[in-house]
Symmetry: C2
Subunit: 389 residues, 2 copies
């Protein structure tokens, strides 16, 4: 019900295969637009900028964007709070250096320089690293910036490709890399309705894991619970969903631990921090591991020493950008596997709200989408989809 | 200068070999005294209790205590704040159940029951597990309670034996078990003047590791710095000592990181918590591990998510009691190794202040020693030494 099954999506899907007509000058320059910002600050201070892209030569690849999501990390990056810094440059023809926001995205190759052998026009690709700048219609890239999405055996849409490398990868690695979970084993997580949370819930189902999933109390909570339980394989299969308010009750904590066999889980995934994190720790068994990948509450983890010394909990963090840079080969294999889950229907999209970015789309419409992305973490994922009419 | 080189110590050392005259009734009962408490509360509410111990029969072993330290965990145990609970029993002839405080100690075997084959009178032993109750002159034990201290190849004194199983073992395991340190590698620690801290500093020297050691600012700080640097093998050898106040200065932090080669250490040992712990984290390299084994500041660890996510720090705890229960064979091998370091003079004692516990020692004198142990953590370790005149 939440996934994007609209005519728009089919348009995008088709457009990844056929190269559309381009707005090109008589000298071969591609007309492009990008959101840009000149210094760290608020997303609302970014502006829409028009520029030209020279024809690809040598190792250059001209790409057009198909889809680019707005992730919390993108906002932090604009604010200057993200360790992966954007590149400020005058290459887009601005008098002072500017950067393009956005870290994740799917592109279609339009043309390649004479020395490019691994990409051909029509290929779909995603960003290999963070900080490329993806909130733009077109860009000049190099092979090292791009990771090709194979056309087979998996077929995934540009929207799926554009949201593949951050959230599902984060969930995948956190479930695999910190403590071995056997089929039938439990993990617990908060922010279960987030992109990472939904991916973790579904990987759990696919791999035979059971999960306790905490979400913030909200309107329509019962419907959300039903939806998440279904994503996790049903309540019988071992997907428990409860609200942060429910989990704050020690009786409920005890009931959940009983449901897990009386000992708690060996793995917890935390994207909230603050008290929500401490409540999550109460669901962990002695010797368990808590992995933090976000801080939606903007509150630190406050850990009594006894959680470390006597309960023997281990606290780690996970940052998919670092992992990706350090494990390029493993990343490709993982993306291949995740793509198979997507194309087989085993891994469902997160709820998304699209903003169409066309040649005449106004700056205000784009910035309104960014603004919506910062309105709490219960909403749908905001994503730009590009139409090159 | 701080270690106990007094006639008293030689008395104790000698007394571990020869069995002294005992106060025994005509029926073979040993006259004993113990500090006892009937409910969790303050150490000052404990009292000195006289009782008799029946002759050892079957698998029983009658021991007399040689030395028993007062550790912070003992105080927490009396307060009811320690997870390893003492045994409340009427076995000592009290009308209501009482427990004996104290977890660490060295004993001499006085007599054994007919089925005991692994201990003989005169053997020196230490407690195998916590919560035996060591602030007492005599006790009935079983083989499973005791770990024999071999008479060779190492010769260690009862005071050394009585303080072997908590602090040096904690330091040893934390340096070995969390991240591999190569010779020449650095670790950092706070509470460097504590029993664990001094042991870590010296193991570092023995194993070729370099260390940054943080102590609280105090009177006589320069003398303490010199002493700790010498324990660590000298400033040239790579032992840096600085105060918590000095470390709070970002310029000093940078200088220390530069001294470590510009990247920081991969291992930190924390027994303080609060801000001191965050300052220590600034000396850790990306991907480093911080192990918490105490909370002298009584303040929790407050960790911004970026320390976990972007700096990739890993936070663990260490509790020697759990480790010892889970690794009995490794523990014996480690004690053997540490005993060799002690008898060779490579590992020096912590500064100790002894309280002699004789037949006529008053309850007030014993409780004054306990009180001194709670006066901050810059002082000497308090330890009971038993004289059976």
């Amino acid at each position: 019900m939440f996934s994007l099954r609209t005519p728009l999506r089919r348009t995008i899907l088709n457009s990844a295969g056929a190269i559309p007509k381009r707005h090109i000058t008589v000298f071969g320059y591609t007309q492009a637009k990008a959101l840009i910002f000149s210094e760290y600050g608020q997303p609302k201070d970014s502006r829409l900028h028009s520029h030209s892209i020279s024809p690809a030569h040598g190792d250059e690849i001209t790409v057009r964007f198909l889809a680019a999501p707005i992730n919390p990390a993108d906002i932090n990056q604009i604010e200057g709070l993200y360790p992966s810094k954007p590149i400020f440059t005058t290459a887009l023809g601005t008098p002072a250096p500017h950067a393009v926001p956005g870290n994740e995205g799917a592109v279609q190759v339009l043309s390649v320089g004479s020395s490019v052998t691994d990409f051909t026009p029509g290929d779909m690709a995603i960003m290999r690293h963070t900080a490329f700048g993806t909130w733009r219609t077109h860009a000049t890239a190099r092979s090292s910036n791009l990771l090709k999405i194979p056309k087979s055996p998996s077929v995934i849409t540009p929207l799926q490709a554009a949201t593949l490398s951050v959230n599902p990868c984060t969930a995948y690695r956190m479930l695999k890399d910190f403590t071995p979970l056997q089929p039938g084993g439990w993990f617990v997580q908060n922010a279960a309705n987030s992109g990472v949370g939904r991916a973790a819930l579904q990987f759990g189902r696919i791999w035979g894991l059971k999960s306790v999933n905490v979400v913030r109390h909200r309107e329509g909570i019962e419907e959300l619970k039903r939806e998440l339980i279904e994503l996790g394989g049903g309540g019988e299969g071992g997907a428990v969903v409860l609200t942060d308010q429910e989990l704050a009750d020690p009786e409920v904590q005890k009931g959940v631990v009983d449901r897990m066999g009386g000992k708690g889980a060996m793995l917890g995934l935390n994207s909230v921090g603050g008290k929500a994190c401490i409540d999550l720790c109460k669901l962990l068994d002695t010797g368990g591991h808590l992995v933090t990948y976000g801080a939606m509450s903007k509150k630190p983890l406050t850990l009594g020493a006894s959680l470390l010394i006597f309960k023997d909990l281990h606290f780690h963090g996970f940052w998919v950008s670092r992992w990706s840079d350090q494990h390029p080969a493993e990343k490709e294999a993982m993306l291949e596997e995740i793509s198979r889950y997507i194309s087989s229907g085993e891994l469902k999209d997160v709820p998304m709200e699209t903003t169409v970015w066309k040649r005449d789309t106004k700056e205000e419409e784009l910035k309104a989408a960014i603004e919506r992305s910062t309105q709490g973490f219960g909403g749908k994922k905001q994503i730009f989809v590009f139409e090159d009419e």
